[in-house]
Structures are given as structure tokens and as C-alpha cells.
């Protein structure tokens, strides 16, 4: 029945790049016709304010959801998480055929503190930069729709939970499938006039860090390093991005200082900072360090100083908030000494 429809949200690109718009519209047009899918269009996820109708719509989706965006899946997932749109990361098979040597379906080892209270549903984040071929996405969306429709719909969770007003609204005023809004079957998730292809509510571009809590160890180095008051802690003493609009546009310094690479700036040009998964090294080795690349800490200090001076404050160089650990040390393979030390620990003397 129609209740098992999966929600697909297309998050638009920031610019008006025609090829990106084309892909978005091709996908939307194809998905509207799909009886197993409920499709909506919202502006770029990263730019959405918490009270934007697009964000409110995302918050109202109770079940599994597929989010297509021009973002690395990791970035998209944690942007949603930050906005209270939580769920387990659904595995997509799109991620290029060249990743076949990796062990699939194996959850990555995480040493982070983890997100708080994740409901039992999956959010599949798909990067629209994977390919410009709509059919590839449609195939994957249908695969996921199949996968999720096999699961029984957990009505109890719905009944016991507290549906948001929008959820209730949607539940009580179900639009019949043959009475689409403005000639198509899409929910007007992103706007008020029901025209899916009109420009959604204008959003301004933003710049702020997003924390990946699967990696974050709550070490507090970011809060020590950032001198602009972006970070704070919650009532459980967990690090959070408290004043995101204090962040300096273009400055990714805290991300470079983070020992776990847990701070994502989705708009940064460097894939590792923008939330690409794992090591981004391709098939070739990167000799930049050999040829004199400044260390991450040097770059972070330089970037911070530029922003301090731009604010009319004094540059502080290496004097403030510098992590005490040794940086730039490559991870060395374990040697006999390491084994010996560990065996001593095990002796429980």
C-alpha cells in the first residue's frame, strides 16, 4: 500500500548551474511518476536555516528517507543530524565500481562519541556528483525502495512516538494520488505555492563547521583553537557548534587541527575537509609533503591569523590554543616495543 512509500528529497545546488539543475529536474520528473516514491525538492541542505520550510519538511519525515544532494554523503548526513534529522546511515551501492576491494556492509570502525539518540530508521545520502546520468540514481533509488519496503512498517513506533504537527497534518490530509499538487504528484516540501519547479524560498549561502560524531572524541581541541566562539558544549559536556554564524567564511582552520578529521566544512575545496570518506588518496601517491607542503597546523594558524586581523584583532600565531600533542607525525607501524608495552599492560601487575 501507499504507506510504504519512501521519501526522496532532492537538495538543490547552490548556484544555477544548468547541468546541475537539469539533473535535479530529470530526477524529480522521473520520480513523480514512481508510485513507490514521494519526492520533494528543497534548497541546498547546508544553507537551510532551522526554520526554513524545507528543513521543517525534512524534520517531518518519520521513516526511511533518501537524500540526494551536491554534498559528500558524510557531510549531508551530519548536516541533517545537526538539524535533529537523525537516523542510521543507509548504505548505498552507488559509490563507484572502483571501491569493490573494500569490504562492503561492514560498519566502519568508529571511536567517536557517536550522535545522541538515533531513531530506528535509515537515511540514505547520495552525492549527485557521482555521475551525471539520471538512470543510475533512479536505479539505486528503486533498489533502496525495494530494500526498505521489505521491512515491516513499524506502526507502534508511530503510535507511541509524538508525531510532529506537520506529520499529523500529512497523515490527516492525505492527498489522493490522482489529485497531485499543480499537475504533479510531489509534496510541496520546499515551498508554499505547490509549484515544485519554482525557485524555492531564497536562502543565503552559509559557512560553518559540521561535526561528525562518529569520529569526534570530544577532545576539545577545536574549542581551544577557534577564537571566534563558534564552539560550545551541551548539558552533557559534548562539543557542539553553538554559534555557527560566528564562523569565518572560507576558514577551515579548526578542521585542520582536529586530530580525528571529524570537522566537516561541506563547501571547502579539499575533499578531506569537505567530508569525503576516509583517505582521498587516489591511485597515485601524494608527494606534496616531501616537496614542502606546510603542515596542517601551520596552515590552520595562518588561516586563523588572517581572520583575526580581518576582524581588527591581533594575530596570535602559535601562542594560543595549540594542541599539545605532536602533530605531523606519520602513524608508525607497530614494532616490538609496542607489543612489549602492551604485553606489560596485560600482565596486570
Amino acid at each position: 500500500m501507499a504507506g510504504t512509500k519512501i521519501t526522496v528529497v532532492i537538495s538543490q545546488s547552490q548556484g544555477k548551474n544548468p547541468s546541475k539543475r537539469w539533473l535535479e529536474e530529470e530526477l524529480a520528473a522521473a520520480l513523480i511518476m514512481d508510485p513507490d516514491v514521494d519526492v520533494s525538492l528543497v534548497p541546498h541542505l547546508y544553507d537551510l536555516a532551522a526554520d526554513h520550510t524545507g528543513m521543517l519538511f525534512l524534520k517531518s519525515v518519520p521513516n526511511d528517507m533518501i537524500v540526494l544532494s551536491w554534498l559528500y554523503p558524510r557531510a549531508a548526513h551530519w548536516i541533517l543530524d545537526r538539524n535533529g534529522i537523525k537516523g542510521h546511515q543507509g548504505a548505498t551501492l552507488l559509490k563507484g565500481a572502483d571501491d569493490d576491494d573494500e569490504v562492503d556492509e561492514e560498519p566502519p570502525e568508529t571511536s567517536g562519541i557517536g550522535p545522541s539518540s538515533v531513531p530506528d530508521r535509515r537515511i540514505y545520502c547520495i552525492d549527485l556528483r557521482e555521475t551525471s546520468e539520471p538512470a543510475t540514481y533512479l536505479e539505486e533509488i528503486r533498489r533502496i525502495a525495494q530494500e526498505t519496503s521489505v521491512q515491516t512498517v513499524d506502526l507502534m513506533q508511530w503510535i507511541q512516538g509524538q508525531p510532529e504537527p506537520q506529520q499529523l497534518e500529512r497523515y490527516l490530509n492525505l492527498q489522493p494520488a490522482d489529485q497531485p499538487s499543480n499537475g504533479n504528484g510531489a509534496h510541496p516540501g520546499s515551498n508554499n505555492n505547490g509549484n515544485r519547479f519554482s525557485e524555492p524560498d531564497a536562502v543565503k549561502r552559509r559557512w560553518y563547521p559540521v561535526i561528525d560524531y562518529d569520529r569526534c572524541t570530544n577532545c576539545m581541541e577545536c574549542i581551544d583553537f577557534c577564537l571566534f566562539g563558534v564552539y560550545g558544549v551541551d548539558h552533557q559536556e559534548r562539543i557542539l557548534v553553538e554559534q555557527q554564524d560566528n564562523c569565518k567564511k572560507g576558514c577551515p582552520a579548526c578542521s585542520r587541527v582536529c586530530p580525528e578529521n571529524a570537522i566537516v566544512f561541506p563547501g571547502h575545496k579539499t575533499p578531506a575537509i569537505a567530508g569525503a570518506d576516509g583517505e582521498v588518496a587516489g591511485l597515485k601517491i601524494d608527494l606534496s609533503k616531501l616537496f614542502g607542503a606546510p603542515s596542517a597546523l601551520e596552515m590552520a594558524v595562518h588561516e586563523r591569523d588572517v581572520e583575526l586581523v580581518a576582524d581588527g584583532r591581533d594575530a596570535v600565531g602559535m601562542e594560543v590554543g595549540i594542541p599539545q600533542r605532536q602533530t605531523g607525525q606519520p602513524e608508525k607501524p607497530r614494532d616490538e616495543l609496542d607489543d612489549l608495552m602492551d604485553s606489560l599492560d596485560d600482565l596486570d601487575l
Binding site: K284, I285, L287, S288, F291, A293, E298, P330, K332, P333
Partner: protein, 149 residues
């Protein structure tokens, strides 16, 4: 003139000519009337292997600070950004390499030169450079192995 030296990279002999100076980021600097003619060292070329592509991010006669990004290189084995060896002025580039960078491999210390550089900075003597290589060799191998895994 100082003797030519050799640094052993495993089985490979990287020659370190005695007629020039060296920077810590593995460039050689041959003194000229206008400053230095800068090129790679045999050590860096051995790690790069066959160079496919070289691109400069700055124009001739640009003042640079140490570690400023000045270009990019791609070879059969590696990719790298290139950085200025010191504070100074990049006078002009070896135009021949832009069409065909193979001289970097075939004549590293001659026609494979990269750019002319004017600077007041101090550089390493051949023996000092060999010491840098000795000190960094293990770590370099680890870095490369770490990226391959």
C-alpha cells in the same frame, strides 16, 4: 668544487652533484649570474618516476614566500603540489618542459631545470643535503608505503 656525492635509495644511486646547493624540499639550485637555476634532485625524480605533466600556478617575475604554492606535477606514480624553496622571486620558467616534461627524467640536473630564482636565502651544501636525505629516508619510505596500503 665539492665532490659529487651519492645517496643510496635502496639499490638506486641518487647522484648529488657538488656544483650546486640544495633545499630541504628536494630541489637543486645551480648558481647563475642572476641567482639560481632550480631543478629537482635525483632523489625527487626517483620518487616521482616518469613525469607526465607540469603546471605553474604563478607568472614569471613573481615574488614568493617560502612554502608558497607555485605549481603542480603529475607523474606515473605520484601527484604533488610544488612549493617555493625559499622567499625570493621566480624569474622565468623552463618553457620547453611545458610541452614535454621528459627532460626532468632524462637530464634532471641539466635541460630538465624548472625555473630561475632570485633569492637571498641560504641553502644546504651537498653533504648537508645528503644528511637530510639520510635522516628522512625511513620516514619517506613509511609515508609512501602508508599511502599505498
Amino acid at each position: 668544487m665539492a665532490d659529487d656525492l651519492v645517496f643510496m635509495m635502496g639499490e638506486y644511486q641518487a647522484s648529488i652533484p657538488g656544483d650546486r646547493l640544495y633545499s630541504k624540499n628536494h630541489l637543486s639550485l645551480l648558481p647563475t649570474s642572476a641567482g639560481f637555476q632550480v631543478g629537482f634532485t635525483a632523489y625527487s625524480v626517483r620518487l616521482l618516476q616518469d613525469v607526465y605533466f607540469l603546471d605553474w600556478a604563478i607568472d614569471p617575475n613573481t615574488r614568493v614566500r617560502e612554502k608558497q604554492e607555485i605549481g603542480e606535477i603529475e607523474s606515473s606514480k605520484a601527484l604533488s603540489t610544488l612549493y617555493a624553496p625559499a622567499e625570493g622571486t621566480v624569474l622565468d620558467f623552463n618553457e620547453d618542459l611545458l610541452n614535454d616534461p621528459s627532460a626532468i627524467n632524462t637530464d634532471t640536473y641539466g635541460t630538465g631545470w624548472l625555473f630561475n630564482f632570485e633569492t637571498q636565502s641560504e641553502f644546504l651544501s651537498p653533504p648537508e643535503y645528503v644528511k637530510v636525505l639520510e635522516a628522512g629516508w625511513d620516514e619517506t619510505q613509511r609515508m609512501i608505503k602508508g599511502q599505498i596500503n
